[in-house]
Symmetry: D3
Amino acid sequence: MSDLSHFQPLDAGAIPRFAGASTFMRLPAASPGGVDIALVGVPFDGGTTNRTGPRHGPREIRNQSSLCRRVHHVSLTSPFDLLRVADCGDSPVNPVDKEESLAAITGFFEQIRDAGAVPLTAGGDHLITLPVLRGLHKGSPRALIHFDAHTDTYDEIFGTKYNHGTPFRRAVEEGLLDPERMIQIGLRGAISHGTNYDWARDVGIRLVFIEELRKRGLADVMAEAKALVGADETYVSFDIDVIDPAYAPGTGTPEIGGITSFEAQSLVRMLSGVNIVGADVVEVSPPLDPSGITALTGATMMFELLCVMAEGMAAKKAD
Amino acid sequence: MSDLSHFQPLDAGAIPRFAGASTFMRLPAASPGGVDIALVGVPFDGGTTNRTGPRHGPREIRNQSSLCRRVHHVSLTSPFDLLRVADCGDSPVNPVDKEESLAAITGFFEQIRDAGAVPLTAGGDHLITLPVLRGLHKGSPRALIHFDAHTDTYDEIFGTKYNHGTPFRRAVEEGLLDPERMIQIGLRGAISHGTNYDWARDVGIRLVFIEELRKRGLADVMAEAKALVGADETYVSFDIDVIDPAYAPGTGTPEIGGITSFEAQSLVRMLSGVNIVGADVVEVSPPLDPSGITALTGATMMFELLCVMAEGMAAKKAD
Amino acid sequence: MSDLSHFQPLDAGAIPRFAGASTFMRLPAASPGGVDIALVGVPFDGGTTNRTGPRHGPREIRNQSSLCRRVHHVSLTSPFDLLRVADCGDSPVNPVDKEESLAAITGFFEQIRDAGAVPLTAGGDHLITLPVLRGLHKGSPRALIHFDAHTDTYDEIFGTKYNHGTPFRRAVEEGLLDPERMIQIGLRGAISHGTNYDWARDVGIRLVFIEELRKRGLADVMAEAKALVGADETYVSFDIDVIDPAYAPGTGTPEIGGITSFEAQSLVRMLSGVNIVGADVVEVSPPLDPSGITALTGATMMFELLCVMAEGMAAKKAD
Amino acid sequence: MSDLSHFQPLDAGAIPRFAGASTFMRLPAASPGGVDIALVGVPFDGGTTNRTGPRHGPREIRNQSSLCRRVHHVSLTSPFDLLRVADCGDSPVNPVDKEESLAAITGFFEQIRDAGAVPLTAGGDHLITLPVLRGLHKGSPRALIHFDAHTDTYDEIFGTKYNHGTPFRRAVEEGLLDPERMIQIGLRGAISHGTNYDWARDVGIRLVFIEELRKRGLADVMAEAKALVGADETYVSFDIDVIDPAYAPGTGTPEIGGITSFEAQSLVRMLSGVNIVGADVVEVSPPLDPSGITALTGATMMFELLCVMAEGMAAKKAD
Amino acid sequence: MSDLSHFQPLDAGAIPRFAGASTFMRLPAASPGGVDIALVGVPFDGGTTNRTGPRHGPREIRNQSSLCRRVHHVSLTSPFDLLRVADCGDSPVNPVDKEESLAAITGFFEQIRDAGAVPLTAGGDHLITLPVLRGLHKGSPRALIHFDAHTDTYDEIFGTKYNHGTPFRRAVEEGLLDPERMIQIGLRGAISHGTNYDWARDVGIRLVFIEELRKRGLADVMAEAKALVGADETYVSFDIDVIDPAYAPGTGTPEIGGITSFEAQSLVRMLSGVNIVGADVVEVSPPLDPSGITALTGATMMFELLCVMAEGMAAKKAD
Amino acid sequence: MSDLSHFQPLDAGAIPRFAGASTFMRLPAASPGGVDIALVGVPFDGGTTNRTGPRHGPREIRNQSSLCRRVHHVSLTSPFDLLRVADCGDSPVNPVDKEESLAAITGFFEQIRDAGAVPLTAGGDHLITLPVLRGLHKGSPRALIHFDAHTDTYDEIFGTKYNHGTPFRRAVEEGLLDPERMIQIGLRGAISHGTNYDWARDVGIRLVFIEELRKRGLADVMAEAKALVGADETYVSFDIDVIDPAYAPGTGTPEIGGITSFEAQSLVRMLSGVNIVGADVVEVSPPLDPSGITALTGATMMFELLCVMAEGMAAKKAD
């Protein structure tokens, strides 16, 4: 495990958290070829139909992630003691060309896939999950556990098929995800038409609204989610707007009545044992976040995801 | 129902939410004569004894209400498919003359009443509820379901009988409200004198503090509220400060320890079946709301109220 | 002139400036067919390569324009006493499709042109000036007086020809503008390559850097500008970033060392006599403008432009 | 001069500027009876017709005035070495009763006048200057040097004669000010009607617009001002909005194109020799001032006024 | 009890909450010699290793405490009717000399102790609790009930033994606190090393993580806490970061997933009966608190602590 | 010059300015050994006696410096085409130990000096200039051109000799600077005692107050400055508070009435030909800078300094 020494966060008891240029969790920069888990950014918001700004998400999440530490206080394990984790930089994007960006992001994640690393991504708006899934694709559709206020399964908005409200429909259509092993948790907020959820239900996606989540309890819902995905390769997508805007105001399509950050942490910790092949935290919009707590929450949720991913991957490796 | 087509929000899949001048929920402007529910503003804060700013509430609530959508995600009904709803503008007010403003607001709501519309109002400070009730008055006192951190039943502050801490006492004294069918929910926060609640209790107003609300649960308290008002004509007043300042910091007299926005939504949804003859959301102060989430919460609470009002009115119509 | 009574701002001594939904300068909404000068918005920022947000410009400029008044304090004439001016709404745009947006904006301004109105536009990022010019085109290239920190005459950024750094190059290439009657004033800020200005100079555009402007004085430079455009049809484009970020922090590509707002007003007032066929104020980005002064400055510059446009058009009419 | 030792600011080299409750310039609290110059607040904004908030001005100016120091860097004299200066608290006001507030403020300044102190006041909106002048009145009208973007000589707004746009008209009508010895400097911004300035000019008030001020230079205009008031008892009113919103964004009726803070300081320093019987700094609105620089500017302008007042009073005393 | 009349908050129905210089809860200033409970500030943040700013805490908590009232709404008793409470000012500190500050703070609290007053302190960063405890020391170690996200029991950070991460270890080592009667509640957040808690557990400190707190419920944990400290002299330290950053964003080391402000109030109310010899609220950092709710929360938690302290002290006195 | 290709900023036409972790001006990270000019940060504010926060300066300046470009628009030369420039990281500091920090900073700059690089530093508060000068010392005192609102030549504040108000006195005493070749430009703001400037004048430092600067003009003063330092090794220290707080609000000791950013740029450009052996930009405090323009201004001033330094060094090399 000696090579892990190259992949440690800066020591915050020697180098202040506010010092230096900020990488994710104060980790070294590296290329995906040499790491197990690649922390990356996708600074693209060209799919945003409402309030804008998540192109600035990766940088500000990096900035706030300086407050992250090494060891999870519940599990007492450190991802950095289990696997090689590094900041592998940002995907190339073209802020004024959506199609080119989709292609470039796809290519970036193909490289990560081909390098054998598992990506944990900071968005960007939710459209980026589509090219991430394309890039990580390996032939058969993955399962999905998706935390969000919205299903993001529209067919079209503004007559376009590629925007932050459509990625999961496209991903199903393209065979990247298997709708019958997809679960969306934390849904809420008024909708444009009463038929908005029909497609998702027709193809078999499991929709868990906040009301059901609160009524059944988090553990019960997560048990169902884990049963649904089983040991299959699963992607986890975390839209920051699943959390209530009191906790995460800096996002483009906020919906009141959401989960707390404690509940968000609890949900992610219950992913333990899931075979995660990639994850993301999206829709953090720093220009709409005057106190910075949204980016801090995004960074902390990445750490929670990292812990559960690292434990699972390390256990598999050890087998 | 063909005439409802004139009273639809702009299509957010064709016209972006951030485009154009902002009306409530992107509805057309109309006069109260042609609508069932009139969304109106009362941009007056001359009754504010503490931190100021709710005169700017109606405009910023309109702005944030661009994020509202058409169909409630739980009931799956849309108010805009049931009734004619429109933005009927702001009441005339005189920012430097309280008495004249009270008279002007009263007159504005008399017009709404006489036009046969039911108003859903964005304040303004809580004093505005008094002239609203005066304008809507029809001879006998109404019942009241009131969500607030404060009872607003002082006799006088600064030696004046008309300010944002006194409207409900005045309304009882004037026969606008029947104290024995009044319930105030979510009360909390230190008070000026131990006798502050005496008058309210003496006249029979039901006071539900946050501690009781949390202990009994929302459903139990709301069952009591609905039993109290029965089928009587009921006014609903929603002071944004009933919600915790984490969710709604932009208000003049914030009290920590409040309800969550999810709880606020739950409470309002439980109003289903109440015979609502008017409602308001007051005390949103945009200058104190750097992230805008208070106005967004105000707008969303208006949508929740609109849904429950429209369902009730449509059912009655259908009878 | 009796029909002007329909095109007056709300009386701020009777209806408070903060009341009601906000239109530009509190004017009535109207279609371009019935007006002389059409105040319009183009809420599009899909051409933005840096910090984002001007899609929210038109709405917030409308909001702040509530502080505008009726009569210019220097000339003592009121545009609203000279011509019919109204808020003609926002151009259709597609926030997730740049090409479609360019076409839609072009079509919107063709309608304005065909209606015989002169547009005064609030952007949006600077790319929007290209489709505005396309829509207003009438066969021969126009002259241009352009206030900006940047020339916006790149050939390509990110390999794309259509973004907020390229509109004036495209406009020249398309025959919309005559480079020999183009002047750009207030230029400053480091550049990407020493050759950045070559094309502009080669085609004959007159570049006035801030250093020259300060050295010669505003009047001298504006005399040159007016001599350059003469009586020809001239478009005026005002990028808010020509003003120093102390005065206008809310913009995507701020450059320190700019002109003051007083200088900006002086420059625009000196346009008196220019044959203006359209004008815009662009790159106001509200999410980057915590105190709102950038949008206020944008609104006031629109009023300054409106006054000089109305005087010229009224004089021509009177001939 | 030994008693001056009781009226010294806290030593910032021993007690940090951020420590303790904040009084004006960290001076002791005292009653007007024992001081030469009384620093006071009037936290009232019930005359505000536009954006609100100056009720919070005195407290935040006190807070920022902790950065003030003892000795003026140009004159090298200290007001605290010349005269007894103290924080004499805030005038009583009634935030929900304008008439009562006007009376209470008048009474407060009568006490200051009768105590023989000269007040330097932090507002509040500009209406407060009227009761200040009433309270300080001694039989004959005073001269006025007035720095402002607006003349505040309306007859009525919203049909009321008492609001922040009318105090100087009322003061002339009431014989508190002599219009022929009144000068208003820094005027600018569009106006509601072309006749707005007629009354002021008719009664003989000297109006100096920003354009004239810039053209003639500050010294020339101030020489005229000083010639106009001569040795007569003069009141100085400083509306923070005379300064450009880049320097002072936190005010209710900002007008772009104003003077710089350096120019503001220069103007006030040129008051040297004027027989000042009272002065104020008004219209600082902290809720609209996210960076705090408006209140800092207000505090520093109070220090500049204090220096010129103290020098004059000390010289007179020494005669 | 007649002397209590000198120690009453200003009457908010006569003197507006926003008027005057701000003392804690609008109480009179006094020296500790004449009071029972001394509200004091320690504006020192020289122990801060991360994001900075709590030196500004006492002043802004004073400012926001103007919204506090007189009577607790649950217990209906007023601390001001039970005991003499006053604002006893800020401790001397040296912002650029940590050692001197520690000594000065110690001296300040020795004076309070020797005067027989019980201090309720607004920090400052958490390092200040160490000199507070030193100053209050009377020979035998005290018990501690400590609300915090962090244990603050590091041995060293940056090689120094005195910083905001170490005060409780030092206090145990110095015999100021008895580790076996210490309980820390609300702990959470990742840690630097898996061994971080070892020392605390070894010496017998009871650590209650948020997960245990939520699982067992607040009442159960507080019953344990009260059993632990019994009737012994107990210090209560409340780090604002025990509350979730949604409720208290303005702090230097925020940790998501914290308790709500309602839970915080509940916990403090359950301290009833504890023999409190001193308490503090620390780590409020106003520069990181754009909406001011963190300072408001800090002020309200001080009021909650004051109530429980006053009740206990009054009961003891009455014995 | 081929090796310069390794020291180029990222191409902003290919990689968006908002992408990736932020280094100074998007340059590569490097050690001082391989570069000509080392861009470094000193994130220390332990010398701050007033409002705090410049420890966060280097990171936020890095962030905003992403907007910097390659070529100066006046000189049309690029520093990156002349010399090797890189981000050499932050000096080690200890946020809770001033003495240790002074030593660590000194050591860091000794390494830069010994490596033969010239440092351009982002602070940190102004105390950092002392250890920078110590580290760069080579036996004989340097000349100094110093832009600041304050002389920073106190002997002691709070009884300590090392804080942000004393570095230049210490530097003279230690023989690091030659007072007779020191000039301080832009001074203003009230002072604590009339004798504050005596020491500086006694030892021969040239003090240029803002009033003299404005009266004589920038060019005249800079000619004097350049004559004073001649061809001697000169350090340039730029305190951001020399610029008016309208342009740079985010600083701890703001003084109104300062220079504009355009004037600041002009002054620095006139340094052409000075033999600069090091420079800094200090006192940028991001927590006090809600719009980010202070950090942007700091970054741009670093670019201006870089250009003038690179030109001089390249010319010398070429000799």
